[in-house]
Amino acid sequence: MTMHPLHSITRRQLFRTCGVGLGKAALASLLVGGGSRLTAGQGSVGQGTGGSLHHAGGRHHAPRAKRVIYLFMAGAPSQLDLFDYKPKLAELAGQPLPPSVIDGQRYAFIQPDAAVLEPQFPFARHGQSGAQLSDRLPHLAKVVDRLAIVRSVHTDQFNHAPAQLFLNTGSGIPGRPAMGSWLSYGIGNEADDLPTFVVLKSGGSLSGGAAMWNSGFLPSQHQGVPFRSSGDAILNVSPPPSIDARMQRDSLDLIAELNQQRMSVTGDPEIDARIRAYEMAYRMQSRAPELMDFSQETAGTLEMYGAAPGDPAHGFANNCLLARRLAERGVRFIQVYHAGWDHHSNVAGGVKAQCKKTDQASAALIKDLASRGLLDDTLVVWGGEFGRTPMVESSAALGRSEGRDHHPQAFTMWFAGGGIRGGQTLGATDELGFHCVETPVHVHDVQATILHQLGIDHQRLTFTYAGRPFRLTDVHGKVVQALLA
């Protein structure tokens, strides 16, 4: 590995001079710059990464956001029943789309000659910006002037797992690093006692699975850490009940002493790193219970989110609140998945039910971040992996009716905070909601824009693997300037 020797030397000196009672800076450097340490002892994982970033503080330009909260609506919400109002569909309801529109398109479930399904809910304009929302989003309507709604996002993938992976990793095939991992690799963490990249989940199953927070070929400490819904939030963060705090501390001291004795014999700096890792683990163990202790929150806050700690029926609301707590504690990339939007049948009922679970908390998160002064440097992203068809899905074999199929050609996402210009609706689709006709925003553009807000040029954050440099946006992507404040 040809990582700059300077890094490892510097860090090694730091370890030597700081001793065990390590300062915050060195711990941060362990968590963050561990990447360089790892790659140093690693062979050539990151060889020749030239202008790429290895550690915190190495941004390409001044960042507008310090962290991201990404509300990932897995399953793909129907943009046509939430954000992208198409009265024409009501006119054409029951008729097939003209062949000129649907020719050559591939669908997951329906045949392309399926009939048009009208918007399932009434729409109205809200806020000073006059953004159009369906009546399923009453809470979001109240913060709509803080949002930039993009109705013209499109993707290359028309199945869930590949499309979710595509948004997260830039590729439909598992194995590439996730966006959060790229950020961890690029600019590290703010926190010194929590992971850089945290994954929260509510609702049903996630099609993309663990590959969505995998670090791929990036060093594995850049992996997302999924918080669990039962037991400790972080796997193994607490010792079992049979080991009390004193035993744990004594044990750690013994381990440190044995490691130091070995260090003095072998001179292997990996042992130093191991000693730091154990101290860091100890800090995480101490920090985790405080993080998860919602009793510090006022009743008003809980009510605003609709949160009910410990009750999985309020999973998304609880996670939004937890996301804010993670943001406050300096976690770089917080991904809040909510699965349950795959409405192949009864799209009206499905959208209604999911909005009930998510609308209030999503809006509360914006309000809460704003009132705490965190929205300015926290980028909030909301969206699914693709859109849903203007045509109806029905299938006797599957027992489906009045649903919508997968639609990669156009869908809606919204962005807020973190240097985004709120109060705007960007892009447009044709009168059928089928294709983007104005300001198309590709998934790679979304990725480029998110990185940009954090001070990263998506073309320059690269990692050489298997003979060539890779980046999140492959060879594509442009920053959506119109979104920026």
Partner: protein
């Protein structure tokens, strides 16, 4: 890079002032120049035409020295006249090459270029593309007279002496060496007693003796298989969204057996790539082809199955490149490789060689299974005979029809009456079916073939909407058609369908059935089946669905994989070729349309001219035929009795235990493999523009990359020939790549550090001659991996101590000390299993589930459960842990075990707080610490002895006095806090397992 004018000389004045570091003939193109050109120039002036700027390429001498209009990029012998030098040294940023974000060449690099050009600008083929020649072993180095007899040591020491002031380290002490050898060759630690025996063994050949013993143990294969399985991306699930289980552990066991038997690597390779194509291929050779069936399978509803088949083949190409060529051929999927001479067309030519196989199940003949089946069959038959005798009358004792009430059904006379009625019914319904043999077959994708019994067998690719069209000669009147859907060994789960994802394997979904005579639709009605069930969704499997004109309704026999079923349709108007206008030909169309591919795999049509509408029968067709032919007697009366026994509701209660017994009949294991397509059904391969599935362009025929064809005696035409070429001496890479892999397994780093990439972007080998020496010698020793391991571990270089004596050479490039690297995830757990005394030594078989929190797999799609194994399976070697791709075993993933989604040439070795939390708190590790402690809790020995024993159980060597004191202090401290003795020992074991040394090869 056509410049408007030549650059001012000033541009490179600064470096002219630099002292020359060496004379020109010291510059080696491969070592010194190519890396500079590859890093800074090839991206725009390399092999890729698409990105080539100004029509200039610098990777070939002819192009680089070509006249560009009065000047040339490179003028051999004259750097000052060479445009390249002028441009890379230009001060004007508009003129300087390379443009953009590249920081440009350093003065030293420019100087190298200049000296190379002044020395004649000799190009050389990239070292790795030139076949290795056995180099002479260097003479022993004077200062290191410490008996450098071993060729490896001669090479290493020669380089040490030439390039450093380092001295080799003294040999590792006996305890370090024995632990290192055990961990490296078996992945398991020695017991303290074994370590003592070795430490006390003063025989001069103690080391070779130990090495030979370890190489002969089954643990050697279990340990070394791990790196191979990383390359093979072996896993027990399909990956992607649903990530369902698959059965392919027989492939893993094949690898174990092959490594254990030291199968020569050339044969090992050929069998895995093309075992199915070897003459008289054995089961084992076909199982070996599971190597490339380890690709992922997307089972998400609604996908385009051919798209994901394409992605799987793409993965096979990339994996083949990495494993046998050490080249990143995957780079050429989208465009010609930017650095290595592999064109976009080369890529698809290689893909074509791997693209001509079907992907069948391989049914493994197992005498044990066969014996058990026969036992159960015999027992079922005996018990059926018994029940028949008990309940059903003989043929000559059939009761006469009686109108009056004969009592409840459980009475024998009532059963006999029911049976008689059933018989009559069957006979009445039995009509004379004549099988129809198609004269012409057409299909949207699968290949259809007529078998001897008039059934049609499909093979090849399927899509979400497939249509079959069969034409028949009309040779008699027809009033009804019967469609039998039939099992076949070649089909998924034995058929009758071709569904291989999303729906049940072997499923089909018949949406529509149409009959035409002379292009005129024949009206059909009264459809019946003997069984119907639809998988995925709540649909009704009614037979009439196939006549309703709605593609989303249909018939399926889900749940009856490997069995026959039937569907019968009647003609509204019978046709008679004698009287009708029909010209003697008619056509049947079948449509299969679902959100997953669900075409039929094997089926047969029969026709009857029965005068009344016919219904489907659940009796076997031959029995029906005999019933129809031998009216009024009952042929095969015994079979009829049994059939009634099995299906009659009146006897269900009595038959239930027999049915339960029959349900225990074991099925043979089916694993996944390749079967090359028949010559008349090749799968065409196209070049795909930008590598995209949806952009196929011109057809491409199979070949190896042009880079190698000049030396290949015969260019490979198929997969077997490709495999043979890959392990021939004509492939300059394979032996080097594999030797490098083994070297890395033992030293932690390869001689070439970019293990997966030996191309022009790779780091040059630290010891090129040593690499070539081992590569050539290995082939000469019949590609024996055990020879190679033995050769390396017996070197003094390997046996050095690993302590760092100075800050020099932190990465140990010069090998002046032994390896000290963290263990793999598997070895970490396995050695604790061994230390705890719980390790189960059983070898092979289905994968197992060591304990882990349910929350790990709960994150995966469908909230998958993880039911921890009990008994010995809880403590099997980690090689056997069930590998679920979307929810990897947590304690392994945290120690960098890959998810096995793609080929991994080199694992990372990280050092993180989550590892600390895992070793400290994961219940699985705590359980092992407890087991180890428990073995000593009742010991009557004094604590200071026990402490030593525990230390040695984990770390093998005896503790130092300081370590001993630290442990005793800890124990006394805990005891002072009233911690019970067993808990104290447990805490001590846990602490020992958490030391850096415990998870590090010494």
């Amino acid at each position: 890079m056509r410049p408007p004018t030549h650059l001012p000389l000033l541009g490179f004045l600064p470096f002219l002032l630099l002292p020359s570091l060496a004379c020109a003939d010291d510059v080696d193109f491969n070592r010194d120049v190519r890396p500079i050109l590859a890093a800074h120039c090839y991206k725009c002036h390399g092999p890729d035409e698409q990105t080539r700027e100004a029509g200039l390429r610098l990777d070939e001498i002819e192009a680089a020295t070509a006249d560009l209009g009065g000047y040339a990029a490179i003028v051999p012998g004259d750097s000052e006249a060479s445009e390249v030098v002028l441009r890379v040294a230009a001060e004007d940023p508009d003129m300087r090459m390379p443009p953009g974000t590249d920081d440009g060449l350093t003065p030293a690099e420019i100087d190298t270029l200049r000296r190379w050009i002044d020395g004649g600008a000799a190009y050389a083929k990239h070292w790795a593309f030139v076949p290795p020649q056995r180099p002479d072993v260097p003479a022993a180095i004077e200062p290191f007279t410490a008996a450098a007899e071993h060729p490896i040591d001669r090479f290493v020491q020669a380089r040490l002496a030439q390039q450093t002031s380092l001295q080799p380290s003294p040999p590792a002490d006996r305890y370090t060496l024995v632990r290192r050898l055990y961990l490296d060759l078996t992945g398991l630690p020695p017991s303290p007693a074994e370590a003592d025996r070795f430490a006390d063994d003063t025989r001069p050949d103690a080391v070779p003796r130990l090495v030979d013993r370890l190489l002969a143990s089954p643990a050697f294969a279990e340990h070394t298989a791990r790196t191979w399985l990383d390359l093979a991306r072996y896993a027990d699930t399909n990956g992607y969204e649903k990530d369902r289980p698959r059965t392919i552990w027989p492939y893993r066991d094949w690898v174990l057996r092959a490594l254990s038997a030291d199968m020569p690597f050339d044969r090992f390779s050929i069998e895995q790539l093309a075992g199915d194509m070897l003459p008289g291929a054995t089961d084992a050779q076909r199982i070996a082809t599971g190597f490339h069936r380890n690709t992922m399978l997307n089972e998400e509803g609604g996908i385009d199955p051919q798209e994901y088949r394409y992605h799987a083949v793409v993965d096979r190409v990339a994996t083949t490149g990495t494993v046998w060529m050490g080249l990143t051929v995957g780079c050429a999927q989208c465009h010609t490789h930017k650095y290595d001479p592999i064109t976009h067309t080369d890529y698809f030519a290689l893909l074509a060689l791997l693209n001509n196989a079907d992907e069948p199940d391989i049914v493994i003949e197992d005498p044990d299974v066969r014996r058990r089946q026969q036992q159960i069959d015999a027992e079922v038959e005996a018990r059926e005979r018994e029940l028949v005798g008990q309940w059903l009358p003989a043929q000559d004792q059939l009761p006469a029809p009686r109108a009056e009430f004969v009592g409840p059904l459980q009475y024998r006379p009532a059963v006999a009456q029911a049976f008689r009625r059933w018989l009559e019914q069957q006979q009445k319904q039995a009509v004379d079916w004549r099988p129809l043999t198609p004269v012409d077959l057409e299909s949207t994708s699968p290949r259809l073939r007529v078998l001897d019994d008039a059934s049609v067998l499909a093979s090849g690719d399927v899509t979400k909407r497939d249509e079959y069209r069969l034409r028949f000669a009309l040779n008699g009147p027809i009033s009804a058609l019967r469609l039998e859907v039939l099992p076949h060994e070649s089909l998924p789960a034995g058929g009758p369908g071709m569904a291989f994802y999303e729906g049940r394997r072997g499923d089909f979904f018949l949406s529509e059935l149409r009959v035409r005579i002379d292009g005129q639709d024949v009206a059909l009605h009264e459809a019946t089946h003997d069984y119907g069930k639809i998988s995925v969704g709540s649909g009704d499997p009614a037979a009439a669905n196939v006549l309703d004109g709605d593609g989303s309704t249909g018939w399926s026999t889900s749940g009856r994989e490997g069995q026959a079923s039937q569907l019968v349709v009647n003609f509204e108007q019978p046709i008679d070729p004698g009287t009708e206008s029909a010209a003697g030909e008619f056509e049947i169309e079948l449509l299969f349309e679902r959100h997953f591919a669900a075409a039929l795999g094997r089926f047969r049509f029969s026709a009857t001219a029965a005068e009344t509408p016919v219904r489907a029968s659940s009796l076997p067709v031959d029995l029906v035929r005999q019933l129809a032919e031998s009216n009024p007697a009952y042929p095969q009366y015994e079979r009829l009795q049994r059939h009634f026994l099995r299906s009659s509701r009146s006897l269900a209660r009595h038959y239930a235990p027999v049915a339960a017994l029959a349900a225990t009949r074991p099925e043979p294991v089916r694993t996944l493999g390749f079967r090359e397509r028949p010559a008349d059904h090749p799968r065409p391969t196209h070049r795909h523009h930008r590598g995209e599935y949806l952009q196929p362009r011109e057809p491409v025929s199979g070949n190896i990359p042009a880079l190698f064809t000049s030396t290949a005696s015969d260019a490979p035409q198929n997969r077997l020939q490709l495999a043979q070429w890959l392990v021939s001496e004509e492939n300059p890479l394979v032996a080097r790549v594999m030797v490098n892999r083994v070297w890395r397994n033992l030293f932690g780093y390869g001689l070439v550090r970019t293990d997966g990439d030996f191309g022009t972007q790779s780091e040059p080998p630290s010891h090129p001659q040593l690499l070539d020496y081992l590569a050539t010698e290995w082939v000469r020793h019949d590609w024996s991996l055990k020879w190679l391991y033995r050769q390396i571990v017996l070197s003094a270089t390997y046996r050095q101590g690993s302590d760092r004596r100075s800050g020099e050479d932190p990465e140990n490039r010069y090998l002046a000390r032994g390896p000290r690297v963290r263990l793999s995830a598997e070895a970490i757990r396995d050695q604790f299993l061994a230390a705890s005394g719980r390790l189960s030594r059983s070898v092979g078989g289905p994968s197992v589930y060591p304990p882990q929190p349910a929350s790990v797999t709960a994150l995966a799609y469908g909230n998958a459960s993880w039911k921890a194994s009990t008994g010995g399976d809880r403590y099997r070697r980690s090689l056997y842990t069930f590998t679920k791709r979307t929810a990897p075993f947590a304690a392994a993933a945290v120690f960098d075990a890959p998810s096995r989604e793609t080929c991994i040439a080199r694992r990372q070795r990280s050092n993180t707080p989550l590892q600390a939390l895992t070793l400290l708190n994961d219940e699985m590790f705590l359980e092992l610490a407890r087991h180890l402690a428990d073995r000593h809790t009742a010991s009557s020995q004094p604590l200071d002895r026990i402490v030593t024993q525990l230390f040695r159980a984990v770390l093998v060597r005896p503790p130092t006095a300081d370590e001993h004191a630290a442990m005793l202090d800890f124990c006394h401290q805990q005891t002072a806090h009233q911690v019970p003795r067993e808990q104290v020992l447990f805490l001590l074991c846990r602490a020992l397992m958490n030391t850096d040394e415990a998870i590090t090869k010494p």
